[in-house]
Symmetry: C2
Subunit: 395 residues, 2 copies
């Protein structure tokens, strides 16, 4: 297995379903993987070596790193300092600078704007006074969000009229836990900056994402544009190529991801989420990792996001990102299975046995992503029939 | 993972590349696997639990069986008695009767003929006198083979004229190692029956195979007919659908595999290899397991042979066996990588990054199957260009 040189043993920080699918892709390329996770239940452990320890003991990370020839990660909240420490010893991709840019909504949107990528209006908010000023300047509706560590709709509050200002501040601005009611004194900075962002509400027609991969040599390959449907802040369905997307929209998305990747000297897979407003895209956020809206690529495209991420990190040539079915109308869909597994028998019999199940091997828990199922069809009409059948089973 | 009932933990006898690919397919279905192998280097151990022990201690097999809900195997030389013992405790598929039929070339051809499936002329040969009589009755050329345990062209001797008779007997008939030169006395039975078969040589135009899967309920699904090219007795290339195959040929193959499966009350994947002579097929042999000529199904068909074998063994609904690309001219090819791994970089860059590598993680050794690479194309012409490019890299 050591022939061909290159990076043969890849460490993955995080051993959830993304780490698991990265490890599965690496197996076929003849590469070894080792996942690092704080939980012994991490599901990547079913398919590869699992190293269990805490991220709080950086010195102990050395045992994990021993023998690795490259390191990557499955989640964007890896501490930047940790990624930097690793990258001094071993190639670590995507680069720590990408983590830094993606972990803070203000830094992220500032980067987008500096590259000419439109975003919603936004303002950093550390105090109630700043919140009021931002509301006055931007108008409502708007969304107050934590700058860091928000995911799946958590850490967000929608302001519809002025009376929501205090409520939003109460929900998210309460960083000084000793203050009664958790609301910081108006005008005075709290003990710790609230570290929020107020974003103008975007009256979007739909949500789209673009996923691309970049090699160390600077080659960029992009999968078809994806349409995403969320519910309760969690992704439910992705369809690719995004139906009825004008060429101008696809070009905007492709240009944006390419600009961000080149700017960061990026290596690996990057996802950017957009809101579509008519013929314009507004960038919402980016993820410096394989992304839930790209899970359809396992079955729908020639090279999956997992395989191409591993190829890029290992210094191997990138694979083709086209649809597997060469027909111009061929489409692919992915549905998340959340909280409860429906009977496997029904899923596997659906769509005349054409649906592809990817069960992550997790214990069911409300709101937990347990699996995804994808289906491909030669036309959007056929795809929608299959989606309807699968949705009926998912309930 | 325990929801939906059924058989959730599957034992696989053998942990080579077939066991490995079965385990990889099972992961996505949310099933657990455990492979049994005599070697600690068995490559399924990279991707699933590996139980190392010897088949010579059936009592110790109990530790392997503990907690399993079904058992299958990756090689057809599993002792029939062992499979029968297992099937008294745990569902064991394919059924032991299929092993029994496939392990002996005389039994196998007798079964084919009893079901109306044409075979080459054949005669069991235990003595030199029987060999001479068979040569006289059938004519030459013919092939003398061991009835059991032959694979990849081993245990075969081609007789072109009468003078080859003694040589062939010397090569394969020498079962009594105390006899000088190893040749049994003419007319007298040797100490142990030689257990050979003389098969009429078939002047075939090409080799084809059909692969099908059958569920416990008796549903049969068949992949497209496959064209195979061997060299030095080892499969080199498979192409599906077999180019320019008349409908009558495909129907013969499909009818044959269905007849054998129904006769054996078969569960799982079965492969039958044929010789084509003009518009007729002659069955050569069958394999009661996933088959090298079906490796293209991982990337070329909607459900791979590995996934459908696991589905059948686990009692789950069968998946669609159609090509992934719905275009009528879509084709798929698989090339074995034997003995030496070419540079991974060249393989992955070939065919504009469209080729799919499946590296088994083995140490290179002459004649050893180390990996396969497959490629799909919208037409046979495009496929042949990609095959040419890959062959140039394989050397």
């Amino acid at each position: 297995m050591s022939e061909g040189g290159g990076r043969n043993t890849i460490g993955i920080l995080g051993g959830g379903q993304l780490g698991r699918m990265l490890a599965l892709a690496a197996h076929d390329l003849g590469l070894h993987t080792r996942c690092f996770d704080e939980s012994a239940d991490a599901v990547a452990g079913h398919v590869t070596q699992l190293h269990i320890d805490s991220f709080d003991h950086p010195a102990r990370l050395d045992a994990f790193l021993d023998g690795l020839t490259a390191v990557t990660y499955e989640f964007e909240n890896v501490p930047v300092a940790l990624a930097q420490r690793i990258s001094e010893r071993i190639p670590c991709f995507p680069p720590p600078a990408a983590l830094d840019a993606a972990q803070d909504r203000v830094t992220e949107k500032t980067l987008f704007r500096s590259l000419g990528i439109p975003t919603a209006g936004f303002a950093p908010v550390d105090t109630l006074a700043q919140l009021k000023a931002a509301v006055a300047a931007q108008g409502l509706p708007a969304v107050l969000k934590t700058r860091r560590l928000g995911y799946d709709g958590k850490g967000q509050y929608v302001l519809r009229d002025e009376s929501d200002t205090a409520k939003a501040w109460g929900a998210l601005g309460a960083t000084d836990s000793s203050a009664p009611g958790g609301v910081g004194a108006e005008g005075a900075a709290p003990a710790r900056a609230a570290n929020l962002i107020l974003e103008q509400f975007v009256p979007f027609t739909r949500e789209l994402s673009i996923i691309a991969v970049r090699s160390e040599a600077g080659e960029v390959r992009t999968w078809p544009l994806i349409e995403n449907t969320h519910s309760q802040g969690i992704l439910r369905t992705s369809i690719a190529p995004a139906p009825n997307a004008p060429a101008a929209i696809t070009e905007q998305a492709t240009g944006a991801v390419r600009a961000v990747m080149n700017h960061l000297n990026y290596v690996g897979v990057l996802a950017i989420e957009f809101f579509q407003l008519g013929d314009t895209l507004v960038a919402n956020e980016m993820a410096p990792r394989v992304h839930n809206s790209g899970h359809w690529t396992i079955d729908g495209s020639i090279t999956s996001q997992f395989e191409n991420h591993i190829r890029a990190v290992a210094g191997l040539p990138l694979g083709d990102c086209s649809m597997r079915d060469a027909a111009p109308s061929a489409s692919s869909a992915m549905l998340n299975i959340i909280g409860r597994m429906p009977p496997r028998e029904r899923l596997l019999a659906a769509a005349r046995g054409r649906a592809k199940l990817h069960d992550y091997g997790k214990e069911p828990r409300p709101g937990r992503k347990l699996a995804h199922i994808s289906v491909n069809a030669p036309s959007l009409r056929d795809l929608n029939i299959a989606i309807g059948e699968l949705r009926a089973i998912l309930g």
